[in-house]
Symmetry: none
Subunit: 131 residues, 2 copies
DNA sequence: CCTATTGTACTAGTAGTCTAGTACAATGGC
DNA sequence: GCCATTGTACTAGACTACTAGTACAATAGG
């Protein structure tokens, strides 16, 4: 498999947060499926050349947020989505996210058409991967 | 002028870096032209509700990188050699924004297809509004 | 010259991130 | 039972980002 994690030390984003983001991305676009095992904290720490505690912190936060399930002695796995959320709540979540996203994009001077184009492309890649 | 700068305190990216990024993007897409004056350090600090030193740090780093020219007592201005690699920067900006957006959505259990649908709808509304 | 406005410089303190090292706890395979 | 492997927990220290407050330096304009 292609390298799943890569850190950008020049971005200013904390490592543990980058790890979380990349797990979420991988889940969103199908590279990581429910039940898949993540690298062990020690292995990933070596791969990324960061400290064991940094990886552990990322895993712990993902555990709390329900993104993964950890079993001491066994490993860390992508959790079955607690997507029991009702349709109404989901719609509101999407709306709120979009508000922030578009506002952010506008602050960066990115036209909305570019966003649509890029997002559609990502979605297609994800679909291709899951079928 | 529309709000040129906006900070995202939840992104984990340092404020001073966000300021630099947004100046670069504004230059890249023409909202800031060579010779344009940036807000004063004090004014921007008030606008963004951050400390004077944080803005000063951003300006100082941009000065060093040749993005702006500062004149004590006068102001801070976009330097002549500031513009370069606009298409590349824009593409990276879109990509970074998307990464965060999708990861964020996934964290909320929102599938990527829903995002496409909602975003397309917004884009159509926006187009209808501007024509 | 005087004053307001601009950027600059410095100290001090708080909070968060990351590293380093060590030890403990639970699981699975033998 | 034994032991390797997994995640967890803790302390200590270095470093960075940010805030807060103060003072200084250069410029523009009356």
């Amino acid at each position: 498999m292609a390298q799943l994690f890569r850190l950008d030390s020049s971005s200013g984003v904390p490592f543990y947060r980058q790890i979380i983001d990349q797990v979420l991305l991988a889940v969103a676009d199908g590279r990581l499926k429910v039940g898949a095992q993540l690298p062990t904290v020690r292995q990933l720490a070596v791969d990324l050349s960061v400290n064991l505690n940094t990886v552990a912190k990322a895993y712990r936060e993902m555990e709390i947020r329900g993104i993964v399930q950890t079993q001491q002695g066994t490993g860390t796995f992508i959790a079955a989505r607690a997507s029991g959320g009702r349709a109404r709540e989901k719609r509101k979540a999407v709306s709120d996210l979009l508000d922030r996203f578009i506002a952010n994009a506008e602050a960066h001077g990115v036209p909305i058409e570019d966003l649509v184009e890029a997002l559609v492309e990502r979605a297609e890649n994800a679909r291709r991967r899951t079928t």
